[in-house]
């Protein structure tokens, strides 16, 4: 009997080493250790043994059973680990395939630039003011020191609705609305659409966007204007950006200036984009004309102010290197998708 038991152990071990499948392992367990298994069958024959032999054989049988069970458990763990590894290997992905998340929409490049500018101004304590696009002559011209028949009206080709109602040619009209309704200190910007009868081409559009900036307070000087412009443009274009002011004329500011920035394209060396000048014109600025303050009921002897107007299209084109203004209004998805 002892011999039989040892043979069973040997056979079980031999079989076990060949098994690589979980089901086969279970079959083996049943074959050797099950209720009708080989080991059980032998144990049943123990009744015919002598009282001396029975404990010895019994011990041996139990030991063999325990050993086989142990080995089956170990083998099972090995098989499971191998199977799991194989599964993981089979599940390998090409992680360089594109993602499939829902597509995000995009903000128009002009609005992106506008929000950046608005956020800078909000941070500097400027409210955002609004005014009508279809406007009275008074707000667009007359209150801005451009009386009827003023020659400077010709520099802004105006769309008219009636003799007295027009499409605003400049966001400066909002200055008047603001100053009529609020007493200094005033710090506002006013972004919006303006209209001039320039046919659409690569650099002109009958509709474009300006961002007006107005500050009125005691002690505002031209130096404050210079400092504010410098800070603003450094925040927009980076610390190394360089500007220069040139005397100019706007009826609603005195002194007036045009502000140039070192050419985005050549960095000041002179190229075709800046016509060899090294600078490109960026915006118009100046000290609010005393007559304009007075027109709004603000005493120019007490208060002074500055104003300037940024061109959103020009800034957007500069920022992204867009060379044709029409792209901004064409709304081709292949264009909009780039920003």
């Amino acid at each position: 009997m002892k011999q039989q038991l040892e043979q069973i152990a040997l056979a079980a071990r031999a079989e076990l080493s060949k098994i690589s499948d979980q089901a086969d392992l279970e079959a083996l367990r049943i074959r050797f250790l099950g209720k009708k298994g080989e080991l059980t069958a032998i144990m049943k024959g123990m009744a015919g043994l002598s009282a001396e032999e029975r404990p010895v054989i019994g011990q041996l049988a139990n030991r063999i059973r325990a050993e086989i069970e142990q080995e089956i458990t170990e083998r099972l763990a090995e098989i499971k680990a191998a199977a799991s590894e194989a599964k993981l290997r089979a599940e390998r992905l090409d992680v360089t395939l594109p993602g499939t998340a829902p597509k995000l929409g995009k903000i128009h490049p002009m609005d992106k630039v506008l929000h950046d500018i608005e956020d800078i101004f909000i941070g500097m304590g400027f409210d955002i003011a609004e005014g009508p696009e279809v406007e009275y002559d008074y707000y667009n011209f007359e209150a801005l020191n451009l009386p009827p028949d003023h020659p400077a009206r010709d520099t802004q080709d105006t769309f008219y609705v009636t003799d007295n109602v027009l499409l605003r040619t400049q966001t400066s009209s909002v200055q008047i609305h603001v100053m009529e309704n609020k007493k200094p200190p005033i710090r506002i910007i006013s972004p919006g659409r303006v209209y001039r009868s320039d046919p659409l081409d690569a650099t002109h559009s009958p509709i474009f966007h300006q961002i007006e900036c107005l500050v009125v307070d005691k002690g505002i000087t031209m130096a404050t204007l210079v400092g504010t412009l410098d800070m603003l443009l450094k925040r927009i274009y980076g610390e190394e950006c360089k500007i220069r002011l040139r005397p100019h004329h706007f009826p609603f500011t005195e002194p007036s200036a045009e502000v140039d920035i070192v050419c985005f394209n050549c960095g000041g060396k002179g190229c075709s984009m800046c016509k060899g000048e090294g600078y490109v014109e960026l915006l118009g600025a100046g000290m609010v004309h005393p007559k304009v303050l007075a027109n709004c009921g603000i005493d120019p002897e007490v208060y002074s102010g500055f104003a300037f107007g940024l061109g959103l299209e020009r800034m957007t084109m500069g920022k992204y290197g867009i060379n044709d203004l029409r792209l901004l209004y064409e709304n081709d998805l292949r264009f909009l998708g780039q920003f």
């Binding site: 597509k103 995000l104 929409g105 903000i107 128009h108 609005d111 929000h115 101004f121 909000i122 500097m124 409210d127 955002i128 609004e130 696009e133 279809v134 009275y136 009827p148 028949d149 020659p151 400077a152 010709d154 769309f159 008219y160 609705v161 009636t162 109602v165 200190p185 710090r187 009868s197 046919p199 009958p206 509709i207 500050v215 307070d217 000087t221 031209m222 130096a223 404050t224 210079v226 400092g227 504010t228 800070m231 220069r244 002011l245 040139r246 005397p247 005195e254 002194p255 200036a257 016509k275 000290m287 004309h289 005393p290 002074s304 209004y329 709304n331 081709d332 998805l333 909009l336 998708g337």
Partner: protein
């Protein structure tokens, strides 16, 4: 304004290269747009003398010339022109030369005969007979200049000036002149400058015996000086004068006319010359036009005059439109004997209006309309007489008629250096300020500043500050920080617009920007009814074209245009939005309302009505607006654009009773109008009106402690019955324990009778007070079944 650098050098010597000059004068306020050296495209062209001209052996129309070009031996050139003779001096483009327009000339053979260059015509040098009246247009330019073979052509014909183009702002008409710019240039370099005072001898004679001048309208004519030149000799002007006109962009005509133009360019004062023979009665009347009067102007056009226009008339008829253009009839002719010179000051606004109305803006009107200085009239006419004597082309009378209204008083502006420094934020010494101002001919007297009369733009302290600043240097003004406390925030509308933008991009939409004006035809394209109030737009009276002639009353046509454009660009799918205004007319003469709108458009990528609706629902969810109800849109739904949608696939979103959005599938006929060959979906949302909608204040609700009971229900009802109605019935029947209703199936077809549909909901109920018992759930469902059958639905 084009400035000849040669001309400028008569008045101020500039020692720096022209590029530097352009920069420096720009930085003191006279902006240079660019400069051009005359004839810079012409290289290696010299004067040649024709030693012999012989026929070509193989051609009837070619000539072979031996040309002395100042070298040891002559060169041979073949020419096709037939106006050349032995001994002529001509421009010769040598081998390897270039001509205007990028033409380059190389040695070659013409019909077998070697040619070592080209003889040039006026046109090939980019000149005309106006520049050289003795030459001809069709043929070689035979030079009548003082030059010799081998001379560079630039020097030989005086093609060596540099033209600087200035952008003069409208407040500085004084700078539309050589003298004005010379004064600015001198101030830029701090060189002494003296305004010239022209001198002439004149012949004795009483002008009043020759001419009478009556200014009938003194408001529109502040000064009128009439002078006379007798026994004129009309001929081309000398070369130096023609060169200067040419460099200034003015066409030479004849000596008398050229003198008036020369004076205008030099002094900034427009002048006019009349042939005295055709000034009837030799009397000049400065008056407004009479009803029905016409004039044939110098350009040959017949102009109808209207009573507000100022004219120069003789005893009978207008002979010039004051400050704009002269009449053809009284113009200077080759046989003119006596000439009347006019140097006058007309009202700027009046000239501007007249020129605009007649549609002719001239160099003269462009100067007058900016407001000229009456004091400029006398030096100008004196300069004209000086030139007449210099050119020996006539005899100016030594007296003139000068009619003027009272001299304008120059404003006295307090000189307050502290105020100027305070205003500019600078510390400029008073002595420097005085220096800048004196250089510009400002007068300082008793603490007051008086600007020279030609500086009509100077009115106040701020103007003085600008004069100081531009010569101190704008870029020398230090930057100062904007100080003081200020707080700022977005307005509710601005916040809403930003939220909408965020929601739309999160929902996969691309933002677009379209024009606010459209064509009235766009209303037809969206099939808008003929009587729709949306067809009443704000109309632009002077549009660029019909396409941009009315302010839009709906944002949807612009959106459709962009969808159509993208479809035509073969972009397979589009999902777009725009935040833009509509312009709704109010009362006549009043401003329109400008409500903000959101438009959304989709096609492709499986878009259907429900993907559009999902986006609109998503937007409301993002904004925190609850209780939006959707119903099939019908006439009177609050949106006239209903016409552009498929009648069975369009909904109106309402908040309470208020229609807030329309959304639907584009009508096939409208899609055809736009050339869109795929199903397209559009929506419009009234943004301004959303500002009045209360958004729900979000308050934390504890997470559920007790389990939910879920019951499914399936029913059959008429196809017409909207699902939203069924849902409402269920909601009311379940009552307070309702947590959510989810529609999970709508079915029409086999096993369902025609005109019916099967609808299935999953209903989740939960109590916050304890576990819901089966009895409680069943009782709720019993109420649901009852309510549904009551409404005609059959519960399965």
């Amino acid at each position: 304004m084009d400035l000849s650098m040669k001309w400028l050098s008569d008045y101020v010597k500039i020692d720096v290269p022209v590029k530097q000059f352009c920069y420096d004068i720009t930085m003191t306020g006279s902006k240079v747009e660019g400069y051009e050296t005359e004839g810079s495209e012409i290289r290696n062209v010299v004067v040649g003398r024709l030693l012999s001209v012989t026929p070509h052996e193989n051609s009837d129309h070619l000539l072979v010339c031996q040309v002395d070009v100042g070298k040891e031996s002559p060169i041979q050139i073949v020419t096709g022109a037939n106006n050349v003779r032995e001994g002529d001096l001509v421009p010769v483009a040598l081998d390897g030369s270039t001509l205007p327009g990028g033409v380059s000339i190389k040695r070659g053979k013409l019909r077998g005969v070697e040619s070592n260059g080209m003889l040039c015509s006026l046109g090939e040098l980019k000149l005309t007979t106006h520049d050289f009246p003795y030459a001809i247009e069709n043929g070689i330019f035979i030079l009548q200049e003082d030059c010799k073979p081998g001379d560079d052509i630039h020097d030989a014909i005086g093609l060596n000036d540099t033209k600087v183009e200035f952008e003069i702002t409208p407040n500085r008409p004084d700078c539309l002149s050589v003298i004005g710019l010379a004064r600015e240039a001198a101030a830029t370099y701090k060189i002494p400058f003296k305004t010239p005072s022209p001198e002439y001898l004149g012949v004795r004679g009483d002008i009043n015996e020759q001419l009478s001048v009556t200014v009938e309208n003194q408001k529109l004519c502040k000064r009128y000086i009439g002078g006379m030149v007798r026994n004129v000799k009309i001929e081309p002007s000398p070369r130096w004068l023609r060169e200067r006109l040419r460099a200034s962009g003015v066409r030479p005509i004849n000596n008398l006319v050229d003198i008036t133009n020369y004076v205008m360019l030099e002094y900034g004062q427009p002048m006019h010359a009349f042939d005295a023979r055709y000034v009837s009665g030799r009397s000049i009347h400065v008056r407004t036009a009479r009803d029905g009067e016409t004039i044939t102007t110098l350009d040959g056009a017949v102009r109808e005059l209207s009573p507000e226009m100022l004219v120069i008339a003789d005893a009978e008829k207008p002979v010039a439109v004051a400050g704009v253009m002269g009449g053809e009839y009284s113009g200077i002719m080759p046989d003119t004997v006596d000439v009347i010179f006019e140097s006058a000051c007309f009202d700027g606004a009046s000239v501007r209006r007249t020129a605009k109305k007649l549609g002719m803006r001239t160099d003269s009107s462009a100067r007058f309309e900016k407001g000229l200085d009456p004091e400029g009239c006398m030096p100008a006419i004196r300069r004209a007489f000086e030139l007449v004597e210099m050119l020996k082309c006539g005899e100016p009378l030594d007296s003139v008629i000068d009619c003027r209204s009272e001299t304008p008083v120059r404003p006295a502006i307090p000189f307050d250096p502290d105020w100027i420094n305070g205003f500019l934020g600078t510390e400029i010494p008073e002595s420097d300020m005085v220096g800048y101002l004196k250089q510009l001919e400002f007068e300082l007297r008793d603490g007051m500043i008086y600007a020279p009369s030609f500086r009509t733009d100077i009115e106040s302290k701020a103007d003085i500050a600008e004069e100081v600043a531009r010569f101190y240097g704008y870029n020398n003004i230090p930057g100062a920080e904007l100080t003081g406390v200020a707080n700022a925030q977005l307005t509710p509308k601005q916040k809403l617009l930003r939220n909408l933008e965020t929601a739309c991009t999160a929902l996969g939409l691309y933002e677009i920007e379209t024009f606010s004006f459209i064509s009235p035809k766009y209303y037809d394209k969206i099939n808008l009814p003929a009587d729709s109030k949306l067809r009443n737009s704000v109309v632009i009276t002077n549009p660029l074209g019909e396409d941009t002639s009315v302010m839009r009353t709906s944002v949807l046509p612009s959106l459709c245009e962009v969808l159509s454009r993208n479809y035509n660009f073969r972009n397979p799918a589009a999902a777009l939005f725009e935040l833009g205004n509509e312009y709704i007319p109010t009362e006549p003469g009043k401003l329109p309302e400008e409500p903000a709108r959101l438009s959304v458009g989709l096609y492709g990528n499986g878009a259907d009505f429900f993907s559009l609706k999902g986006i609109i629902e998503g937007i409301f969810e993002y904004l925190g607006i609850d209780g939006v109800e959707y119903e099939a849109a019908a006439e009177g739904c609050g949106f006239d654009e209903l016409s552009m949608f498929h009648p069975g696939r369009v909904a109106v979103a309402k908040i309470g009773d208020k229609p807030i959005a329309i959304l639907g599938e584009m009508h096939p006929a409208v899609a055809e109008n736009y050339g869109i060959g795929t199903k397209t979906y559009c929506a419009k949302l009234n943004v301004t009106e959303l500002l009045d909608v209360e958004t729900a204040e979000r308050v934390y609700k504890p997470l559920p402690k007790y389990p939910a009971a879920t019951r499914d229900i399936s029913l059959i009802c008429d196809d017409e019955m909207p699902v939203a109605g069924l849902e409402k019935l269920i909601r009311n029947a379940v009552g307070g324990v309702l947590e959510s209703i989810r529609l999970f199936d709508v079915y029409k077809g086999e096993q369902i009778a025609g005109g019916k549909k099967s609808v299935a909901f999953s209903i989740v109920m939960r109590s916050s007070e304890g576990t819901l018992t089966d009895d409680q759930a069943d009782a709720a469902m019993k109420r649901v079944r009852k309510a549904l059958s009551g409404a005609g639905a059959e519960v399965r």
